[in-house]
Structure formats: structure tokens, C-alpha cells
Subunit: 402 residues, 2 copies
Amino acid sequence: MRAGPSQEDIRRHNLGTLLRHVHLGGPISRAELTSRMGLNRSTIMALTSDLTAAGLVREELPRETGRAGRPSLVVRPESARVYVFAFDVGPDRLAVARVGLGGVILDRRESVRRRGPFDLTELTGELAAAARQMRRKARHDAVCVGAGAAVSGGVRRSDGVIRFGPNLHADEAPFGEALGRRLAFGLPVSVGNDANLAALAEHSRGVGVGVRDLVYLHGDVGVGGGIIAGGHLLGGHDGYGGEIGHMVINPGGGQCACGSRGCLEAEVGERALLEAAGRSPEEGHQGRDAVRNVVDAADRGDIVAQEALRQVGDWLGLGVANLVNLFNPEMVIFGGMLREVYLGSAAQVRSRMAVSALAPQREKLRLRTSALADDATLVGAAELAFAHVLADPLEVLARAGG
Amino acid sequence: MRAGPSQEDIRRHNLGTLLRHVHLGGPISRAELTSRMGLNRSTIMALTSDLTAAGLVREELPRETGRAGRPSLVVRPESARVYVFAFDVGPDRLAVARVGLGGVILDRRESVRRRGPFDLTELTGELAAAARQMRRKARHDAVCVGAGAAVSGGVRRSDGVIRFGPNLHADEAPFGEALGRRLAFGLPVSVGNDANLAALAEHSRGVGVGVRDLVYLHGDVGVGGGIIAGGHLLGGHDGYGGEIGHMVINPGGGQCACGSRGCLEAEVGERALLEAAGRSPEEGHQGRDAVRNVVDAADRGDIVAQEALRQVGDWLGLGVANLVNLFNPEMVIFGGMLREVYLGSAAQVRSRMAVSALAPQREKLRLRTSALADDATLVGAAELAFAHVLADPLEVLARAGG
């Protein structure tokens, strides 16, 4: 319960808000900014001048206006100049991208990760080497203003330690600090849970733009989630919130990697689907392609695959019903491999929800699939890195030497 | 993404913040307000003058300071002058209270409600009559600034309609509007779900003060809940959030009043406990006393009662584990009849949580019982009514004719 903000707080807030419009919405005229931000023209001009001088945006005459009179200048993000690094560490994949202000992926590299032991030194070495190569290829005046990483596991918000990551075989791994040291860019690395970050990405750039209350379900090998409540990511006390994969829905059910039984992950995760479809999930018969094969086989009339999807869809519907009762979201988004599973079992999901989700919670609910697909986690990692810049644009840029 | 606030917004915010300190924290010196709000002395003096002139607070010399020098004036809420009405409609009880600024219960009345059909006209008539009597007994210069009601059911935030209330036998009942009309005080009645409001009450005046992330479980006949995430009540898109009683945890389990099976309510609600203890929940053997009898019997060594509590405690532990995984709260609070159930089965709850709650989520978690006990819902209803006053103190008081 502190008092109102100072003039300097207000200026910083306005600079961040203006930059956020440009970063998330793309090129926008000064006139439009004036109207959206509810500030007068001279204030908008002063703010854009400050951001232009710092090299965060540039102002240009629009190509065509179709209207008489002096056209309003268009403010564009300096995407090629101001960028962050985004990292994604999944059970089956490593990805690194250089992402410019405005969300433009300027450069990216992906590699297959073999399931197996988690070697922090090797992993962070590989990620840092890729980032350093990309950095050398960047424009000479380009400025790196941050780094963010999405990892498949529970991450302590305060220091980026992976507390538990059964699907990465990681446990108490000081990932954020190790990656920061290997990068040696003089920048901290912000680390988040991959499903949490994918939820943020869908909320800021995907199917959930403008939706203040949404639940995002992320299927990879396991099942994770991210909750946007009242426009903000639900992190909980230490940042572990949103572990929807470890909500028990079938207490007599399958063993889960977390040690419990009948978690949502144990009933709708990759292994559950492949086993139900009679495809033993061994090396070579696992991952996203194996999941797609089951959905495709069901489409072609394979009865075993259809029954597997029916079974998994029923549990998925029950899990979603619980989440809908708890969160009363406007939208539920299926991402990662659950995108395919939902598309292959939507009728079953809806029919189960009709029984187990309360009617008022269901009536305005929209079920959607991820718009960013396999980029959601990487885009979310970039947004995590940009969050610092949007909170205090000039200060962050000055510190980065821009 | 609007711009920063105007000077008038800041003043209103500061008036509300100062009044909130006095309302929630009780009498406080100007010096302490200066330090807590981070404003200078002359601003605090101007704000308290405005609130004093409006009759919301008064300033007095402290009784003793124990220090030399001129003592700082103490700001007190005008509890006897500025008040709200709070209503509580539970399955077994009706309560009406006149609650003064600062949270003082000035007058209250309770009556037993017989389980059975929901008669909106009779119910709102009885509540309004009690409120009008209390109003006549109030000080001649007292000003009613709001009314809030807690009801056992899902309430649409926008208009106070009870959308579903199986334990009240209410369905699509326009309760808020009907009560407002019967009161005829010229004030709207804000209506909320009883468990949501009890959560708010524990967060503002109970065991959860200062806890930004908490889960409150409320047992009455059914099971409800309220989630405080990042310091705010999680309402969801339409205000139906927090229906933890209808999270399915045992898909093959008991029939629930909502139409689904194996909901938390069906496994740990009053009926589940009484049936497990071999006490058929008929008229005369139900309600809070019947629940207490089972817990007392278990304490005295009754093996059937002990086994019933063990069984219900196991399901309760599983439900709480799910909530802990989803919300990563700092505190879980057991309220209503779940207070007794938890006290009688804490070992079982904790042992189930050790299996099904993720370790990082568990390590700082505190399990607590409600501090406000059976007053939690009523106190929450009062806080709902006061929320308008704290948002814009002078305007609300002027409208109320104060």
C-alpha cells in the first residue's frame, strides 16, 4: 500500500508502455499512439524522441496515407539493432534464437536432443557456443539487451535453478547461472518453465491476445501448463505455479515420473497415448512424430488408434473440466503435442467436459489450439528477456552499452 | 496499456490507500502513515484533513507516547458513523450484520435456515427486514455506504445472479437485484461466492494477512474455495473462479450435487464424512454439529469415526496436493467445517500430500486453519461492500449523503 508514483516513475512507465505497443503491435502511427495511450501529442512526441535517440525505435513517413493533410509519422521497432537471445531446452530438442525488438526471429538454430542424462556443462556449452556464433554474425551496431530460456521443468524464479525436470532428467540444476557464465555477455539469463512461457507467448503474440484469463496446456513428453489470470501469469509463491500435469485425476491410474499416480501427465502424456495405441514408446518410436502417427492412423480408420485417442481424450476432457472449474478462463489453448491430441479427440474432450465442467464456466469458453505451435516456448523465452527492457527501456539499453 | 495516472487519479489513490491502512490496520499515527506510504508529512496532513472533513476518520492525540516532543496525531476510523451491511446466505444459516469502517461488527443477527427450497422473495424479505431494524437503531448521523452479500453458490460478478447453488437449491436466482430492491436504501448490493469472500476475509483480516498467494478451502454442506494469486482474488472471466469443490479427484467416486462424479465435494463434503462414519445425514443429524460429533468421537477412540476421518483426510490431502501443484501457494487455509475435518485428520492429509504434491511446492508451504472461523464469510461480505469506499472514499461518501 504505497503512495502514487513519482514523475520519473510515470515517465518510465510511459516509455515502457509506448515501446510495448511498438514491440507487440508492430509499426504504429504517432496519432494512433496518442489515441491508445490517452496522452497528448506533445507527450507522445517527447517519448518517441527519447526512444529514437536511444536507438530503440525509428520514425518514418508512412508509404501511403490515402488521406489529405500532413501524415502522422510511423514508429517502428529497431528490430535489427536491439535484440535478445532466446533458448529452449526440451526433452527432444535444443533451440537458440536471436530475436529482435518487435519479436522478429533474426537467426535461429535447432538441434535434436537425445533423451537421457542431463549434463549441465555440455548443454550450456552447446547453447552458449551457438549464441556466440550468432552474435558474431549480427550487425556491428547491434546490441544484445537480454537473454531468456525456457526449460522443461520446475524453475525457481529467483535464481533459475531447475528444481525438478523428470523429462530432462534434471534435478536441482543451476541452469540460469551456468548458462550466464558460459555466455559471458555480462547479462543475466532469465529462466522459466517452458509451458509457462508458451502461455505468455500465446497471450502476447498468439491465439490468446487480448484474453485476460486463459489456461494453456502444453504437451511434450510430459504435460505442463501456464495460467494467465487477470492478464498476469500465475507464478505462485516461488514461480512453480501452473503444474497442471501433476494434478491427480485418476488416483488408481498410471505411475507418473513425479512419483505420484494418475496425474494428468500419466493419463494424457506421450507415453500414455503411445501405449494405449499399442506402440511401445522406445527409441525411434517416440516424440512428436510418433504422436502424429497415431492421430494420422486414427484419421485413416485404425481402430486401435481411434480407441487410444478416445481414451486419452476422455482424460484430457476431465483435466480441462477441472481447470475450467478452478479458473473460469475465457479460453483454453492446447499446445505442443496436445495440439494434435486435441484435434484428434475434440468430440471426446467436449463430451467429457459437458459432464464435469460447471455450466456457467462452460458457456463462454473457447477451446483453441496454439497459434505459435512449436515456436511458442522459444517466443516465450524471448518475451521473458524483453520484459526487462519494457520495464525500463532507457536504463536497460544504457547498461547494455547501446 | 494506457498512460500514467492524472493528478486527480493519484489523489484518489492516495486517499483510498490511507483509508485502507486505517480500515485494515486500525488506529495509526500520522508519522507511521508518512513512513508506510512513502509520502511527505504535508501530503499526509492534507489527505487526513480531507478524510476528516468527510467524516471518514478522526484525528486524536495518542493517550501516551512514552517519548519526549510533540506526539504525532493518531488517525482512527469513524466506525460508529460510516458502516455497511453484510449478509450471509448459507445452506443452514442466515446472518445480517452492520459493520463499521475498520471492520467493527456494530450489530448482528443470525437465524437458522432450514435446508429446502429457495424462496427468493421470502429470503430477501427476511434479510431486508433485519437490516432495516438495525438501521433504525443506528446513531442518527450514521451513514450506510454499501452492502455486500456472501452466498453459497456460483455468482455472476456483473449482476449478482446466483447461477448455480445446489446446496441452497438456488438456480438462476437474481439475488443481488432482489435484495437491493427490498432494502430500498438506494444502494446496490455486491454479491459474491461465500468461499471467495471468506478467502478475501482471511487475506485481509485473518490468518493470511500479508500472504500474497494462498488457497482457502471452505467446507459447509458442500466444498468451495477462494484463491488469492499475487495478492488478488482469482475470479476468472465472469467471477466463477475457485470452484475447487468441483475438481474431480476420483472419477469412479460418489455422485456430486453438480451432476458429475468424484468431485472433491463428493469425497470430503459433509455427506461423505457422515456416511463414512455410519451416520446417515438426515434432518437432525447434519450440519456443523454433526461434523463436530464425528471428530469428537474419533478423539474419544471411536474406530468407525477414526476410519471415516482417515478416508476423508486422504481425499482432502489429494485435493490439496492438486491445488498446491497448480497454485504454488505459500499457505493453505482450512475453513468452515473443513477446519474441524483437517484438525481431525492432519496426519493423513500431510501423508497424502507427501506423495502427490511436488517437493518444491511443498517446502515453504504452511497449512493453517481459518482465524475468523464462522465469521469469515460475513467479514468477507463486509469487505466486498467496503471495497467501493476504499476505491474512491470522498465520492462514495458524498453519494451516500454523508
